[in-house]
């Protein structure tokens, strides 16, 4: 049971952003994509989520070619949490979360739609917000609503583009923990794009280092995140510390 990306080439117009990218996401696994700005993280994520069609290459889920699936069928397999939420939807929070049921609904919501949305709201702990207008929410609250929408979508794979960027420390940890819980309870696969190497260390089963549209290295975080790789990909010096609660990365300013 895998989401398998093979030989993906992707770009805007004539410029190629991703070239020859292969990636397998197993169920029950968290994969983190790391890389500097412009390395193609967001493009890779948008390709996985069927937001951009790849120029060449295939995306298979459980052996099925997803490029041949109907859009709505694909939506039931892969859910997307954007980096930037759209501000001022002017929807109530419950309406915003129910949008996640779009692939399942025709004209009106079924009992199952309400149940799934309610469970997502409960999981994200935003019961108090459901009657609020999304324009009134703080950045952190909005992020939770957006994740709740993806949970309501009930896909088999979740793809989150920098899900922690708008959150404070506590909410960063709780959001990643929730995703971890979902991975184990629903046996879902998760792909994060993150900037924070320490969070990647702590939460991922596998790390992908992207550089200039190619996969630089891939594998266990302890193996992939080392001084040499960080230097090669980001161009900064670092040291890896082995603390009592796991590994830490300490970044130095370049001299």
């Amino acid at each position: 049971m895998t989401l398998s990306i093979k030989r993906i080439r992707q770009g805007y117009g004539d410029s190629i952003v991703l070239d020859d990218v292969d990636l397998d996401v197993e169920k029950g696994e968290i994969i983190t994509i790391l890389g500097p700005n412009g390395s193609g993280k967001s493009t890779l994520i948008m390709t996985i989520c069927n937001i951009m069609r790849p120029k060449t290459g295939t995306i298979n889920i459980d052996g099925k070619d997803t490029l041949e699936l109907h859009r709505k069928e694909f939506s039931k397999l892969v859910g997307y949490v954007p980096q930037k939420y759209v501000a001022g939807d002017n929807l109530r929070v419950f309406e915003a979360v129910l949008l996640g049921r779009a692939p399942y609904m025709e004209w009106s919501y079924s009992e199952e739609d309400f149940d799934m949305a309610a469970r997502a709201i409960e999981l994200m702990g935003i019961e108090d917000l459901i009657d609020k207008n999304t324009a009134e929410l703080s950045g952190g609250q909005m992020q939770k609503v957006v994740i709740a929408r993806a949970l309501a979508q009930d896909p088999r794979y979740y793809v989150l583009d920098e899900p922690t960027s708008a959150l404070d420390l506590k909410n960063q940890l709780s959001t990643l923990s929730i995703m971890k819980k979902i991975v184990s309870s629903k046996n879902a696969g998760v792909v994060f794009a993150l900037h924070d190497i320490n969070l990647a260390f702590k939460y991922s089963d596998k790390v992908v280092l992207l550089k200039d549209g190619h996969i630089h290295s891939i594998g266990n975080p302890k193996k992939v995140i080392n001084e040499d790789n960080i230097m090669e990909v980001y161009g900064v010096h670092c040291e890896i510390l082995n603390g009592s609660d796991g590994m830490h990365v300490n970044i130095f300013e370049n001299q």
Binding site: Y80, V86, N90, F94, L99, G100, A102, W107, F114, A135
Partner: protein, 386 residues
């Protein structure tokens, strides 16, 4: 007393423990509010219709109009009013009222849909250049058609028992074709991949300027009669209403309304942003293309007959967004009703102010719309967003 508290505690616990219950409750309440709003607007529209038919050189009482309409719809179940000839007047005046309703519906639903599609609250058929283009078509028709066709232009054709002069038909065709051209150009410009929303809006504005230059040119080279005709057309009014125009327009408006309502679930999804909507299974580019095309079709069909009527496409959806929110499944029908109500009331006022003469309803709409627009932006951060 103690028992009461315990009972409330239990109810609270149930509420707390089941967000599914709370969700259904919130959803149910919001739907009731929307349906209530639609119901109230519909009733107001019916009242406005009857009042509007009653107003004129012969004024007819509310009850007599109701009886005549009832007789026309339900046959002998409803008796005719005591003055039987009232029914004839009611029939004649209805054509204008129906044209008002059709135009109000068309402009309001296109406004609502275009705002959602381009996720910009200030978009309306006019922002995208449809009206300037249609005006240009009409102006060109007014100036050049007599020269091309000579005296044959004044012949009239029977449409469903009503005479329409060949000239006015050709002017309508010109306006319609140019209206469609404008959106064609906008779509062509926006076909390139990953085009931004602001590009689409900007191309609408530019097209609008181009056509306005054309209108100025047409005015400059036209003689006095044609100039007066162009000016009147640009003001917009319902004086050309006949049952012939109504019967031509009804199917267009009804079909476009149904098509747009069918798109409303996807329009809702689009409010989460293009990327999320694509992931949620919406073919965003196709939706945008289809939606803009249908809205332009219905808009240019209507303004071809009436001339320019501004601001309905902005006002009606906005009032609805303020009251019932952005769920397109309800917003589109509600906007349709509110648009019809505003235009019909304005037209009635336009007929009453300097009776027995009348003002072009376009002027009233510009005053009303201008004031509304100022009010809307002066609410600062409370501008309804999408």
């Amino acid at each position: 007393m103690g028992e009461g508290i315990r009972h409330n505690d239990i109810v609270d616990k149930i509420k707390e423990n089941s967000s599914g219950w709370a969700l259904r409750d919130s959803y149910g309440r919001s739907v009731h509010k929307k349906l209530l709003f639609i119901g109230v607007t519909l009733s107001l529209l019916i009242v406005a219709t009857i009042v509007s038919i009653g107003v004129g050189s012969v004024s007819i009482s509310f009850i007599d109009v109701s009886k005549s309409l009832g007789h026309a719809i339900f046959g002998s179940l409803v008796p005719l009013p005591d003055n039987h000839w009232y029914a004839t007047i009611v029939y004649a005046r209805s054509s204008r009222v129906i044209l008002c309703i059709l135009c109000g519906v068309a402009l309001a639903i296109s406004g609502a849909v275009m705002q959602n599609l381009l996720r910009n609250p200030l978009v309306s058929p006019f922002t995208l250049g449809v009206s300037s283009a249609a005006s240009f078509g009409a102006a060109m028709g007014i100036v050049f058609l007599p020269a091309i066709f000579g005296s044959a232009i004044t012949d009239s054709i029977e449409i469903f028992g009503n005479g329409l002069s060949l000239k006015s038909i050709l002017i309508i065709v010109c306006a319609f074709i140019c209206g469609l051209t404008s959106i064609g150009v906008v779509l062509l410009l926006s076909r390139r991949p990953n085009v931004s929303r602001s590009t689409i809006i900007l191309s609408g504005v530019i097209i609008s300027y181009l056509f306005q230059a054309g209108i100025s040119l047409a005015k400059y080279i036209s003689d006095d009669d044609a100039l007066r005709e162009i000016t009147l057309w640009l003001m917009g009014g319902m004086w050309d209403a006949t049952w012939g125009t109504d019967i031509l327009l009804i199917p267009v408006v009804v079909v476009c309304f149904i098509l747009l309502v069918c798109m409303s679930s996807d329009l809702n999804t689009l409010s989460a942003g293009d990327d999320v909507a694509k992931n949620l299974g919406v073919d965003v580019n196709k939706l945008r293309m289809k939606g803009l095309m249908i809205s332009t079709l219905v808009t240019s069909a209507c303004i071809s007959f009436t001339g320019i009527i501004g601001f309905i496409g902005l006002m009606a959806p906005h009032i609805c967004r303020l009251i019932i929110g952005n769920d397109s499944r309800y917003l589109i029908p509600a906007s349709a009703l509110v648009g019809a109500l505003i235009l019909l009331s304005s037209d009635t006022v336009a007929r009453m102010i300097i009776s027995p003469s009348e003002l072009p309803v376009g002027i009233i709409m510009y005053i009303l719309g201008g004031l509304f627009f100022i009010w809307m932006i002066s609410r600062k951060n409370k501008v309804v967003s999408l």
